[in-house]
Symmetry: C2
Subunit: 342 residues, 2 copies
Amino acid sequence: MRTVLLAASLCSIAVSALAQTARPDPGPLTIARQGSFFIGGRDVKSDTLSTLPAYAASGTITVDQMYVRYQVPVGELGVPITLIHGCCLTGKTWETTPDGRMGWDEYFVRHGHPTYVIDQVWRGRSAGDPSAINAVRSGKEPVDKLPTVFSAGHESAWAIFRFGKEYPQTMPGMRYPISAQVEFWKQMVPDSLANLPTPNPTVPALSELAQKIDGTVLMSHSQSGIYPFQTAALSRKGIAGVVSIEPGACPAPTEDMKPYAGLPILVLFGDYVDEFPRWAPRLANCRAFIAAANAAGGKAELLVLPEIGIKGNTHMLMQDNNSLDIADILLDWIGKHAIAAP
Amino acid sequence: MRTVLLAASLCSIAVSALAQTARPDPGPLTIARQGSFFIGGRDVKSDTLSTLPAYAASGTITVDQMYVRYQVPVGELGVPITLIHGCCLTGKTWETTPDGRMGWDEYFVRHGHPTYVIDQVWRGRSAGDPSAINAVRSGKEPVDKLPTVFSAGHESAWAIFRFGKEYPQTMPGMRYPISAQVEFWKQMVPDSLANLPTPNPTVPALSELAQKIDGTVLMSHSQSGIYPFQTAALSRKGIAGVVSIEPGACPAPTEDMKPYAGLPILVLFGDYVDEFPRWAPRLANCRAFIAAANAAGGKAELLVLPEIGIKGNTHMLMQDNNSLDIADILLDWIGKHAIAAP
């Protein structure tokens, strides 16, 4: 029912399922301040930092910190937004699209929202620890102590991102700028998350960041989809709302729903979900979670784009050819629902 | 002699060796455009991308691409500047300092220079390949096929960065904001460069970037200090000048100097160099290189900061407490020497 209400409120935005709203040259952007910093981090002592003579094997390094880059626009400010990328990717997800269009990071700033882009711990500019590799390399540990680190190949990622059911076929009407796919593959990085504890150290870092910002929407994607919920379960401090884009998982509907009571939550899915065995159960679980959360006093909504007439969106909808139209929908929701001073 | 001339031209800038020039609140910043993209990259087929059932072991990934983030200010533009970080670090090097002051990335933009910040290939947001690790982990390759990946520990990095001769002692008058050292350690990442060919794939990527920008100063640091020279040896196209900050190596003076003829080159060193056995020979070699380059029609200069009365600068001088004064020196040099249309 909430979906229906949301759809009604969005009818002026979703004017066309076929083409992105024309976007004029946005002109210059004036920002009040920008920069980058880290959140979290812990020191680790190791005797296997290096196998090179130029760098000592023994010493202390810092890991589990989360890189954050931010821009704050001038003028009246909207609710800050924190962008949390998904599996095998970095904060680059939200920047300039593979075909050279404006990313959500800049678009949100241009709409008055201080915007924070993170790299999950152990990925991108957030350092991991090579000690386990060097411990095996130097014979101190057996091979089975090697870390679990993987890359997603283009061919298998194809269906995960729902570009098509099988590489290189594409879904009919699919909106990803597939002619620029070579630029997308460059965004993918090796992923060490399987080595990390639960919750991932990114989660307490997000909590600390939300409190530092003192009010932010946590906008997650895919593998990080669950992180804002896990963050809310740690503490509601600083969380102005949750936008979970195509989460790999929502909280189980059987869980305690107290952490989400009164928290504005939007779970967003694109098109073709029911045609993909990887995704259909995830959407079904999110539907059940939202029902459970609302039954327990929640303010949770599910938006499945084809249900409001927007078709063709893939898993990477922040880069699809109507990405800024989707951004408008999210900005509209944030403007109406996010808690101004959580 | 060039050093003396340079020193004379800088006497109005280097007013004090003791304190950074006071910096008022810079106010808002207006940029014409910004974004990020990758340069380079090649596809690699592998059967050991993953040991997890959720991700296929076989497939194609893209590696050797170089991440680039840029901002172009409004108004009359200076020569573009490309910032190339050093060992065990990422583009974060040039952003907000550990104690929260403005980084050179923004400072240069505020002075009218389109500024490009890269992550070297296989580091930060520029992906590496985990195949070798998984090949060993799955028993397909022996342990000695594991990649060489190392992290620099705080204790050994201490003398490399010339904070002091031995951790945690500091050099007298040392300008690094050492009270914020915990934030600096968070910037350090594992480094895979020892696995990569020579020249490092970052070098052809820099050449491609320089040609895309169509004129940029290549500003390198430490381990990447040699890269602009290697880039010039590939092609002079797009290179407006070279600023090499505390290079780990200059080209050998016995090499062919033709690639550097007529190229504006500034090699910059901070303080205490002769007191550190790691650094003294590097400075000596750079002096010899500059003499050889100039003897062959070069336009190369060496600037050793204490020789013009600026004392206390460490290896991380872009983060020292007088970092913006050093930036002014470089901007002055770029304004006078960089080739406007290379």
